[in-house]
Subunit: 138 residues, 2 copies
């Protein structure tokens, strides 16, 4: 059983046609999608899908860390499926294609320095990179 289904069940949530439609769409994309885009594509597999349900499903799946929300200059609600563990998004500014990467130790070092410099106790971070993917460089 796919991972997201396990997580829903484990927390007592039901596997419904709408949730399947939303996850199917997200698992098939390599570009962050907005709720409206997810609705449109999702209707191809589940005709009755409604926008409200897309919003609710995304909120739930984000909470369970099955999907990740990416922020961009335009539109702050792009969704991507996310692999287990903490990772970050790297988005092509030309075609939108997204890749994931890990934070490595550099980020820990940076955070430690910032904590020292500011006195804040840092417990979360938002890091996204953008640029050109291999295909778009030519």
């Amino acid at each position: 059983m796919s991972n997201w289904k396990k997580r829903l069940s484990a927390e007592g949530f039901r596997i419904t046609a709408s949730r399947r439609a939303v996850m199917d769409v997200l698992l098939a994309t390599s570009v962050p999608l907005s709720p409206r885009e997810i609705l449109e594509q999702g209707r191809r597999v589940h005709r009755k899908l409604g926008l409200v349900t897309v919003y609710r499903t995304l909120a739930l799946l984000e909470h369970l860390r099955c999907v990740r929300r990416v922020h961009r200059e335009d539109g702050c609600r792009g969704y991507l499926p996310c692999s287990p563990g903490h990772s970050h998004a790297l988005i092509c500014r030309q075609c939108g294609r997204a890749a994931e990467f890990q934070g490595f130790a550099d980020l820990q070092a940076l955070i430690a320095r910032v904590e020292e410099a500011t006195g804040y106790q840092v417990d979360d971070h938002l890091l996204q990179l953008s640029g050109l993917c291999l295909d778009c460089q030519s």
Copy 2:
């Protein structure tokens, strides 16, 4: 003359009461403000200020790098004044107070590694930290 006024003039933009109101509000805050909050506070110094103008002014000031837009889980349009040069925001999740920090070399190293790992050519990044400020830790 304050820096933001210089930048506006230098690019041929006018120093108006509305723009002064928006910048005054931003320079006085340590918490990211939404366009609506800026409108409300701005009206205390410039009665006729309109919401449309706040949006337009923020877009302009952001373009000129006099203000910075911060993204958060809730609401993706928080504005802060920004110091010259590239820096990042660190926001207290309790009181909202923001601090700035520089990217240091760690970030460059991280980006270089990601470029190597993914083949992308990285040319921009969005980095924000959140945690507890000194006051909120007690």
